[in-house]
């Protein structure tokens, strides 16, 4: 099962981060955010921080999968898990890029 986890974790982490940032975006644009005394700038900072944390987590995962301690002993699983870790890193950067490039709540 460890081999399956090596393959499954990176993209699952992307999905979790993507959903979490989308949820955070919903919260930032809601009345609840105003009611808590927070403004849009704070929202932008929160979303950017979440994005940065997601990227950092993916980088750590990639390094871990490259390291002898966590890398798979099977060449096939090692190849697939690294490909997927790179995919997840690219996906995290690309799909959440809008947090710094587009208007938040228009």
């Amino acid at each position: 099962m460890t081999e399956i986890l090596r393959i499954a974790v990176p993209l699952t982490a992307w999905l979790a981060a993507f959903s979490a940032v989308y949820g955070l975006h919903g919260l930032v644009c809601s009345e609840r955010w105003d009611a808590a005394g927070l403004d849009l700038a704070a929202g932008r900072i929160a979303m950017t921080a979440a994005w940065a944390a997601a990227i950092a987590f993916q980088v750590v995962l990639l390094i871990a999968l490259l390291s002898p301690r966590f890398a798979s002993g099977s060449a096939f699983v090692r190849g697939v898990s690294l490909t997927l870790a790179i995919t997840a890193l690219v996906a995290t950067v690309w799909t959440l890029l809008p947090v710094v490039t587009t208007s938040a709540c228009l």
């Binding site: 081999e3 399956i4 393959i7 993209l11 959903s19 975006h25 699983v77 697939v80 490909t83 208007s103």
Partner: protein, 826 residues
């Protein structure tokens, strides 16, 4: 023992009973697979007839062929049948039939579950077809958007057929997925490590995981909408704190992965058939596996691209637009790997190859228009027009139907044992291919000219008349083509001459089996050393028949099968499978009572059905296991393995784990819905939050300690060969306390007062239900212990109940915590 004698003995052990009764009681993967395939094709014919009715209606302006009421039912049922009753069951059937053979095993992991899934599909589908014949079919579109589908827009029974019938059918998809995941992970030929899995098995593993995580949001949405319709719980009614957008989120959380759930099995067929047609091996196996996994997961991050016109802020649109463009990359990787496979091989233009080429031509166009609608500004123009209708048919017909036809023609000699003799197939191919493009290519233009989806007639002078006339004529040409395909398949299956076992010279294990397949699939289980075992050992079929593999001696007279370690493929245990039984069909029938009770508002039938289903489930589980430790058993080649019932994590434990993953997604979707309403719904906060009180949290905390501690105490006692009674009693008391904690939420809220109260009712009901299930399982465990079915070695059942108890406790803490938190904070 010679091969013939072995065959006769194995047939006696594995075959279903003779006659029609055999079909009702069979649990054999060959029977169930063929039954799935036959019924799915029947539904395809029905869905196709409905499509022809649609094209007849739209062939000429202001047509009076159908009124709007009937037309709405026809297009709703066309989409519903094709998506739920045809596409998914078709690949399930193919998988149920083929997967064990490809993996080098004798059946799927849980044969009775296969049969139960089939009967749920058959009964659930029948409900929908009945509604169609009775003129009370669902009529709100296959996506069932409220308020059109709620009592405000559809006060009749029509949407209830959809919500309940489809949920009933989805039991089948979830059952099949649990089966497929556990089978691919554990039930393989020895030596078949992950890098040697047949590529189709990888695809189906991914698809099954997608079903387990993609279907629960829809099941939840259907449940919530049905609760709203039946009991006035206003989840989707804005005036009472609900939001109809919640439905769209839940539906498309399922709906977009669904597109890939349908495409990926077809991609698995292409990856299997194409190399054989090209006389080579698959180029980039590892890349294809990585691309398929990427596609499977990325497809869960693009559901909002179906909601670009709902007023979501730009940033949200940009997230999903970016993700939508990203899925084109792994799709492209697969397409290029297939083109590379053709390039490096020596392709032969047999009929399966023709269908694959038709797939390329059609699916690439569908993919490109998909990238177009992934662009927000374009989607705003094209949304809800025939451009989208044309796009989705290019993707689904090109990406699913054509490859599956390639697969059906490819495996036809394996299904029938006959050589394709009649040549209608090529004529049929051209009629379907040309008819399809004649129908849908021009409809892109109709959409760009402004023709809206779901309209029941077109106006003269709209500029769409000629396009629709051509589309309708082409549609009928396509229908004639599909009819010829069916005639061709039937003729070749029934009256063609006998053919060789492996006419395509393929390398995968299903071609090592006599055709048509015997009930036991493999006379002995071979050891494999590559992805194409038949290329390594050409006389492997003979060796298998001679019993030179594992389990070649059927002397014990029971259905035997091996499990392997997930990664390495080393043999790990011996499983004894259950025999033919009417239990699955009876249980599916009684489960149907639950849905029919809701449908006809005979609510007394619901608890009665639940009670009988519970009794049947206990009977089901009771028939497994043994009263004494049997120790390791010989399986051939000098290897001795423990029985699966005598290991800590038997296949049932893995099945439970994956079922609970699906269940966890359901629960997560429920919490998402709660958070969505709290954040977005206009009429929030509710008039009053649930007031803080101590009884509930104290019961929950006490229950947690007792339930978790008790089941572990029982486990430890059994491992010391002591009685588990005290531990089980403590666990039962803990679960009762958790249930009581949930009940305190129910008595403090009114189910239909506000969407907040309604949500709390569902959360508390969920916790109560799971505490009850874990409680029943704990009582069952006590009875099993008393009956002598548990021991230090036979501990697997305790581990299954422990898993359920842990799950019940975790979801109770999360759910009840979410219910109490707003009251505490304010």
């Amino acid at each position: 023992m010679n091969a013939l004698r072995r065959h006769r003995q194995l047939e006696r052990i594995w075959a279903s009973r003779p006659g029609w009764c055999g079909k009702l009681t069979t649990v054999n993967n060959n029977d169930i697979g063929l039954m799935f395939l036959s019924l799915a094709i029947t539904y395809f014919v029905i869905g196709g007839i409905l499509a022809m009715l649609i094209r007849a209606q739209l062939a000429t302006p202001r047509s009076v062929f159908m009124g709007p009421e009937i037309y709405n039912q026809v297009f709703t049922m066309h989409g519903t049948i094709m998506m739920f009753l045809f596409a998914i069951p078709l690949f399930e059937g193919l998988t149920v039939y083929l997967l064990p053979k490809m993996l080098g095993t004798r059946d799927l992991a849980f044969p009775r579950l296969s049969a139960f899934g089939f009967w749920c599909y058959a009964f659930g589908g029948s409900l929908l077809i009945f509604s169609l014949l009775a003129g009370i079919a669902p009529d709100s579109g296959w996506f069932m958007y409220p308020p059109l589908s709620s009592t405000l827009g559809s006060p009749g029974i029509n949407p209830d057929f959809w919500l309940l019938g489809i949920t009933f059918v989805e039991i089948s998809a979830i059952s099949a997925s649990v089966e497929i995941v556990v089978t691919v992970l554990l039930y393989r030929a020895p030596g078949m490590s992950l890098d040697k899995l047949p590529i189709f098995a990888w695809y189906m593993l991914i698809v099954a995981m997608m079903i387990l995580t993609g279907f629960p949001p829809l099941i939840l949405g259907s449940l919530l909408l049905e609760l709203e319709r039946a009991f006035g719980m206003p989840f989707f009614q804005v005036g009472a704190g609900g939001d109809s957008l919640l439905w769209q989120h839940l539906f498309w959380l399922f709906g977009h992965p669904e597109v890939y759930i349908i495409f990926l099995p077809a991609a698995g067929v292409i990856s299997t058939v194409l190399p054989v047609m090209a006389r080579t091996t698959l180029l980039g196996y590892g890349w294809i596996v990585a691309a398929a996994i990427s596609l499977g997961v990325l497809s869960f991050g693009i559901w909002v691209h179906h909601m670009f016109t709902t007023g979501i802020p730009h940033m949200g649109l940009a997230f999903f637009s970016a993700a939508s463009t990203l899925v084109a990359v792994p799709t492209g990787v697969q397409i290029f790997a297939w083109i590379g496979t053709i390039w490096k091989g020596r392709p032969e233009l047999h009929l399966p190859m023709l269908w694959i080429l038709a797939f390329f031509a059609t699916f690439v166009i569908g993919g490109l228009t998909g990238v177009m609608v992934a662009m927000v500004p374009f989607d705003w123009q094209a949304h809800d027009t025939y451009f989208v209708v044309a796009h989705l048919h290019y993707v689904l017909v090109g990406g699913f139907v054509f490859p599956m036809l390639a697969g059906l023609y490819y495996w036809l000699p394996h299904f029938t044992g006959r050589r394709r003799y009649f040549k209608l197939g090529k004529t049929a191919f051209w009629l379907v291919f040309l008819g399809f493009h004649g129908t849908f290519l021009l409809l892109h233009w109709a959409g760009l000219l402004g023709m809206r989806r779901r309209i029941d007639s077109i106006e003269s002078g709209s500029g769409w008349e000629l396009i629709n006339l051509i589309a309708s004529i082409s549609g009928f040409v396509m229908a004639i083509g599909f009819a010829l395909v069916l005639i061709d398949l039937l003729a070749n299956a029934v009256v063609a001459v006998r053919g060789p076992r492996n006419p395509w010279q393929a390398g995968t294990l299903e071609w090592a089996i006599p055709a048509p397949s015997p009930s036991y699939n493999l006379a002995s289980i071979p050891e494999v050393h590559s992805r194409n075992p038949l290329y390594d050992v050409p006389d492997l079929p003979l060796r298998i028949a001679r019993g030179e593999g594992y389990l070649g001696d059927p002397g014990r007279g029971v259905r035997e099968i091996l499990t392997v370690e997930v990664a390495s493929g080393r043999p790990s245990s011996l499983v004894i499978f259950p025999t033919n039984t009417a239990l699955p069909i009876v249980m599916a029938f009684v489960t149907g009572g639950l849905f029919i009770g809701m449908l006809i508002k005979a609510y007394w039938l619901v608890p009665v059905s639940i009670l009988i289903v519970t009794m049947l489930a206990v009977w089901w589980a009771w028939s497994l296991g043994s009263r004494k430790d049997q120790g390791p058993q010989p399986v051939g080649h000098g290897l001795v393995l423990p029985l699966a019932s005598e290991i800590e994590r038997p296949p049932g434990w893995w099945g439970t784990l994956f079922l609970l993953i699906a269940n966890g997604v359901f629960f997560g979707s429920l919490l998402f819905g709660y958070a969505f309403l709290w954040t977005v719904a206009p009429n929030w906060p509710p008039p009053a939050w649930l007031e803080p009180y101590l009884t509930g949290p104290l019961l929950a905390l006490g229950g947690t300690v007792l339930a978790l501690g008790g089941i572990r105490f029982a486990d430890r006692a059994l491992r010391r060969d002591a009685g588990p009674w005290l531990g089980l009693l403590l666990s039962l008391a803990g679960l009762a306390a958790l249930g009581s904690a949930a009940a305190t939420v129910l008595v403090r809220t009114t189910h239909n007062a506000h969407a907040y109260d309604a949500t709390l009712w569902v959360i508390a009901g969920y916790v109560l239900f799971h505490a009850a299930v874990a409680g029943i399982m704990t009582v069952f465990l006590a009875l099993r212990a008393a009956g002598g079915y548990l021991s230090a070695r036979r501990i697997g059942e305790v581990r299954v109940v422990r898993l359920w108890t842990d799950y019940a406790v975790t979801t109770a803490l999360l759910g009840l915590g979410a219910a109490w938190l707003p009251g505490v904070l304010t």
